[in-house]
């Protein structure tokens, strides 16, 4: 039940106070000293078409096609989407729904590729020089390369680079906090490929047309900080590395921005609206590959860790590699792991199936032993207030939970349910083991469903009204036509009568 004081933070130079947070055991030592290693190519790669937030990509290859490494398999549809490329050369043997790491847990449209073992590259676009290329050209290259936020958020990076057109930006923040326990892939990346990451940072800064860059690294990664310091010193930018305290959820975008600048992003707004865009170092690395080498995003570095895995490691894997193959590469699991996760232990999702593939946002595969994820049965809330103290969003989790249990969803929204960032700090500390975050996620899901139903109802109502209006208009038009016809008829009749009259009169006249 660790409590935090703001004072602990103020001691550090240039870091501003942030509320709340917890200090979980970081367990990074398990894999922090394992250099990034390659993995042998799997027999089958399954490349989901939705590895990002936004619309599913649309396939541009067909079953049976031979594809080269880096060739486009599917293109992004609509404004927010991302292209998908072939991780190696081979043949497309199926396009269909397959289990994938998607928050919905539902199968996702997937292209299955059988590698031919040649690993033959497609014709890649020519390298760009970030110092001479236009921002638009850089952003376009990032979009064409299918790059998404690789810290797990998977928001298409090109869309984020285009924010310069909507808001006045001044700073690019590289979020290398890596606050989730166990994960060390960003740490290794910064240590081993600092120059490439720094170059990616330059590309992004040029695309955003900002000059100021802050690389934020948690204090438990001094080697990464040192490597980055050296690497960014050579950049033609106002770039610096800031070491932030090791604390979860330091990597939450808005909280990191507050720690670095003291600026607090208003609720429901983007950090871009206060001038900062936040990107992950793995994304910067991918941007470097795309801009300088023309390579699309077809592989990523991830951490395999946990006490139930035989050999923890940091591995560079082609997208689409089945999780089972990766675990096998790491010596398999020690017995049945109590929990198999994608991502970190705080916000990670359970692996839907070990046949599921690694996607662009997969930063870790954790096999946790029972001792690591032990959780006792829930007991009544003792109102200890720890959840209130640790909540980085300033919420009152115990009360949110009470309202949700009473089905007072509106009441929960009134006290900030929608400001919850689902970081799980409250659940982590609760001495009564109350599943707070489950309750919040349930409520958010329910609200979203209600919203959808309401939207549908409104849509139906709107359509019905439109129909009515249309019908009325048609009826009115018919009436109009009828009247007109009547009038015409009447006019005709009158004319006819007049003629008749004239005719009748004529004989009279003649008679007279």
């Amino acid at each position: 039940m660790k409590r935090l004081s703001l004072g602990a933070l103020r001691g550090r130079a240039r870091v501003h106070a942030v509320r709340g947070g917890v200090h979980p055991k970081d367990n990074k030592a398990l894999s922090a000293e394992c250099p990034i290693e390659p993995i042998p190519l799997s027999g089958l790669l399954r490349v989901p078409l939705q590895q990002h937030i936004g619309a599913e990509a649309e396939p541009v290859v067909a079953k049976g096609d031979r594809v080269a490494k880096g060739q486009v398999l599917a293109i992004g549809r609509r404004a927010v989407s991302a292209a998908v490329h072939a991780p190696t050369s081979g043949r497309v043997i199926a396009i269909g729904r397959f289990v994938a790491p998607h928050p919905s847990g539902l199968p996702v449209a997937t292209i299955t590729l059988r590698p031919d073992g040649e690993d033959r590259w497609a014709d890649l676009p020519s390298p760009l020089d970030p110092n001479t290329a236009t921002p638009d050209a850089l952003a376009e290259r990032v979009a064409a390369s299918g790059i998404v936020g690789m810290g797990g958020a998977t928001f298409p990076s090109a869309v984020k680079l285009d924010l310069r057109n909507r808001f006045p930006l001044d700073t690019l923040v590289i979020n290398a906090a890596e606050c989730e326990p166990y994960l060390t892939c960003d740490d290794r990346l910064l240590r081993e490929r600092a120059a490439a990451v720094a170059d990616g940072i330059l590309c992004m800064a040029r695309a955003l047309t900002v000059d100021k860059v802050i690389v934020a690294i948690e204090s438990n990664k001094p080697q990464a900080a040192a490597a980055m310091r050296k690497a960014v010193a050579n950049l033609p930018l106002d770039a610096r590395v800031i070491v932030v305290p090791t604390r979860y959820p330091m990597g939450s975008e808005k909280h990191l921005v507050q720690a670095l600048t003291g600026r607090e992003t208003p609720a429901r707004a983007l950090t871009a609206e206060i001038g900062l865009v936040v990107h992950n170092p793995a994304t910067a690395y991918a941007v470097h590959r795309a801009v300088r080498h023309g390579e699309p995003l077809i592989s990523r570095i991830l951490t395999v860790s946990g006490r139930a895995v035989a050999r923890p490691a940091n591995i560079e894997v082609p997208i689409g590699t089945p999780i089972a193959d990766i675990l096998a590469h790491c010596g398999g699991t020690l017995g049945e792991p109590a929990r198999l996760l994608l991502g970190g232990p705080m916000m990670g999702l359970p692996v839907p199936s070990t046949r599921a593939p690694v996607v662009k946002g997969t930063n870790g595969i954790l096999a946790l032993s029972a001792a690591e994820c032990r959780r006792d049965e829930a007991m009544p809330c003792i109102r200890c207030g720890t959840c209130v103290t640790v909540c980085p969003s300033g919420l009152t989790p115990l009360e949110l939970n009470a309202r949700i249990r009473n089905e007072e969803l509106d009441g929960a929204v009134r006290i900030g349910l929608l400001d919850c960032i689902s970081c799980g700090s409250c659940s982590y500390v609760c001495p009564s083991n109350i599943p707070l975050i489950q309750s919040f996620n349930y409520a958010k899901g329910k609200l979203a469903a209600q919203q959808r139903v309401k939207h549908q109802q409104e849509e139906t109502k709107r359509l019905a009204q439109q129909r009515e209006v249309r019908l009325e208009r048609i009826a009115a038009a018919k009436m109009e036509a009828l009247k007109r016809r009547k009038a015409e008829m009447a006019a005709k009749k009158a004319k006819a009568k007049a003629q008749e009259g004239a005719k009748a009169a004529a004989p009279l006249e003649t008679a007279s």
Partner: protein, 365 residues
């Protein structure tokens, strides 16, 4: 309907538990309790055991009636702790039935009629103390001068049994007790008689004795220094935070200083208030009770200040020499309101819940 339990993060836990917190609180109370038991001898030890035993028994009974698993709930240690706090607030030579009533009232009336753990509005130990004080004012104010274990004239084991169970007849079981008023009681009586503060203070215990606890009083309200030590232990282990203790002690001290400055002959200074009576116990162990105190940081400060002020007011102008119990109960009653009115500011929003306004373009550093 309750939300379905999905497997979801966090997949790790801080491993802090209710029982750990209760265990640490008990540990922190041990030095002061041990001293109390030493100073007041066997009768105090018996009373202590009886009170805790009854509290645990009553809790088990209530859990059984409420059809909850007794083992899991009893293991959290909250019954032991409530019984312990009741025992500390009793005169050490009180008869056995006071202990039994105290333990039972705390658990049944103080806790389980509200629905059990986490549901009670009032601090169970203080409910018991106040009900006893009002119902049995004589027994509840029969303080004795310390008679340390083994000291000449102190009751032995059998004398102790006689005192606690009233075997020898009379209030003290036929044993010659040196009855003595508690320091606050003494002060209030003498001030009532019109004596000057200086004379009273000169005749009574000094600050040193008060801090050490070698004075008449309830079992646990004697040694301010040891209670402070225990309280600091709780702060260090993060079981409690500083807000409630500091606001309780700070408010009482501030008021005492103010009135002492106005009329030093009637109003004792802050140091006297801090070390006498149950204030130290209250600030660290009673007011900080999780269940009955507000959860938001600002709420905690208001609550603590309220208790500190009420303690001073009751001590100075009230009918009872010590106001801790009433002050805590009164502020307990305000807790739901404080919690309702005072929530932390939500990130990115103003105190009133409106999103912060964006800074005007161009004024960023």
């Amino acid at each position: 309907m309750s939300p379905p339990t999905l497997v979801s993060g966090p997949h790790a836990h801080s491993m802090s538990t209710v029982s750990r917190a209760m265990l640490l609180v008990s540990l922190a109370l041990t030095p002061a309790t041990a001293l109390g038991c030493y100073l007041f001898g066997w009768p105090a030890i018996f009373l202590f055991a009886i009170t805790i035993g009854t509290a645990v028994g009553a809790e088990a009974l209530c859990l059984r009636l409420a059809r909850r698993p007794p083992a899991r709930f009893l293991l959290d240690g909250s019954a032991v702790l409530s019984g312990w706090l009741v025992a500390l607030s009793l005169p050490p030579w009180a008869p056995w039935w006071i202990g039994v009533l105290g333990g039972a009232i705390a658990m049944v009336v103080g806790k389980h009629v509200f629905g059990g753990l986490g549901q009670n509005l009032f601090n169970p130990a203080m409910v018991a103390r106040i009900m006893l004080l009002i119902s049995f004012p004589v027994q509840m104010t029969a303080y004795v001068a310390p008679a340390p274990l083994g000291a000449p004239g102190a009751p032995g084991f059998l004398d102790g049994l006689a005192i606690t169970f009233g075997l020898g007849g009379g209030a003290t079981g036929g044993f010659d007790a040196v009855s003595s008023a508690s320091v606050l009681g003494h002060l209030s009586t003498e001030l009532g008689r019109g004596a000057s503060l200086e004379a009273i203070r000169a005749s009574g215990a000094g600050l040193v004795e008060l801090s050490l606890g070698t004075v008449a009083g309830s079992l646990g309200e004697t040694s301010a220094a040891l209670l402070l030590l225990g309280g600091l232990l709780l702060l260090v282990f993060g079981v409690i935070n500083w807000r409630i203790p500091v606001s309780v002690l700070g408010t009482t001290a501030a008021l005492a200083t103010l009135f002492h400055a106005i009329d030093p002959s009637r109003y004792p200074d802050a140091a006297f208030h801090l070390v006498s009576g149950a204030l130290m116990l209250c600030a660290f162990f009673i007011a900080t009770d999780y269940v009955t105190s507000p959860v938001a940081p600002l709420g905690e400060l208001i609550y603590g200040a309220g208790i500190g002020a009420l303690v001073y007011i009751i001590r100075t102008w009230g009918a009872f020499p010590e106001g801790v119990g009433f002050a805590v109960l009164l502020m307990n009653a305000c807790t739901p309101l404080i919690d309702h009115l005072i929530r932390p500011r939500i990130f990115g929003r103003s105190r009133r819940g409106k999103p912060l306004t964006l800074p005007a373009a161009g004024d960023s550093p």
